[in-house]
């Protein structure tokens, strides 16, 4: 598939993504991060939290999946990803409910310089940012 050039303003979303406790258990198994704060009410309470929270790396990875799906629609592959940065600014609490927690993910190209496009991500929970200064660098 031919690569569509990336220009400022291109992007995707916002899309809503739900995360349940089962998703966190699945991520724990897939990633090897079994910190109980991500699945145990008791461990969360011992750290002063009301409920377990999502792995920061789950949120970072889940957001990247939206970027990668969008990039595939522009004729790119994950090998066109050059870099990714996020600051974990706010936890994503995941109570043990059927509906879980909804986050929203959007991405927009903010600059294209020297064949490198910078995609700024907005990842939010209740309109508050959970990944700060989140940027993906893509080979344009």
């Amino acid at each position: 598939m031919a690569r569509t050039p990336l220009t400022e303003g291109d992007g995707f979303g916002p899309v809503e993504v739900r995360v349940t406790r089962t998703d966190l258990v699945r991520y724990a198994g897939a990633s090897g991060d079994f910190n109980p704060i991500h699945h145990s009410d008791r461990a969360a309470r011992e750290l002063g939290l009301d409920t377990p929270i999502a792995h920061g790396m789950w949120t970072m990875g889940r957001a990247l999946s939206e970027v990668s799906a969008w990039l595939e629609s522009t004729g790119r592959t994950p090998d066109d990803l050059a870099g990714y940065f996020v600051r974990f600014t706010r936890p994503v609490p995941v109570p043990d409910t059927a509906e879980g927690t909804a986050i929203t993910i959007a991405g927009r190209v903010v600059t294209v310089v020297d064949d490198l496009a910078v995609v700024q991500l907005e990842v939010s929970l209740d309109d508050q940012t959970v990944l700060g200064n989140a940027k993906v660098e893509v080979r344009a």
């Binding site: 990875g61 799906a69 595939e72 090998d79």
Partner: protein, 135 residues
């Protein structure tokens, strides 16, 4: 003895080579909602191997670090390409930066992932906020 700026530059021995399998990639894909159709692992899969390199850091008795007292503050990846099934990966962790403030340590570590043939694949840089146990 806590971790201090004197530990900057400390390198840990290369981890046991990690053989990337299609089954593990598929499992990780499902866990992060990846829908791409090619053979590449999702970009953050690199952290599955990176976390194995962290084990050496947390096992270093001289630093006195506790994983359960550690928060992940930020994360950066720089990729040459994505991992694929069949890649055999070495991971080397280096301590880049340490700042001590009261009983809190801010630690930046870099894990370099390369194939056992020497091809550099990914650099994963993490800032960790560690709270020391009260003496």
């Amino acid at each position: 003895m806590p971790i201090t700026p004197e530990h900057v530059g400390r390198r840990y021995p290369v981890t046991k080579p990690y053989l990337v399998s299609q089954a593990k990639i598929d499992e990780f894909r499902m866990a992060v909602g990846d829908r791409t159709t090619g053979p590449q692992a999702p970009g953050t899969f690199a952290m599955v191997i990176g976390a194995l390199a962290w084990d050496g850091l947390f096992a270093d008795a001289e630093l006195g670090l506790g994983l359960h007292r550690t928060m992940h503050a930020d994360q950066r990846f720089a990729w040459s390409r994505q991992l694929r099934a069949g890649d055999e990966i070495n991971a080397v962790l280096v301590v880049d930066k340490v700042r001590n403030r009261g009983n809190v340590d801010m630690i930046t570590v870099t894990v370099e992932l390369s194939t056992t043939d020497g091809e550099q694949v990914c650099t994963a840089t993490s800032t960790l906020i560690h709270t020391r146990e009260e003496a």
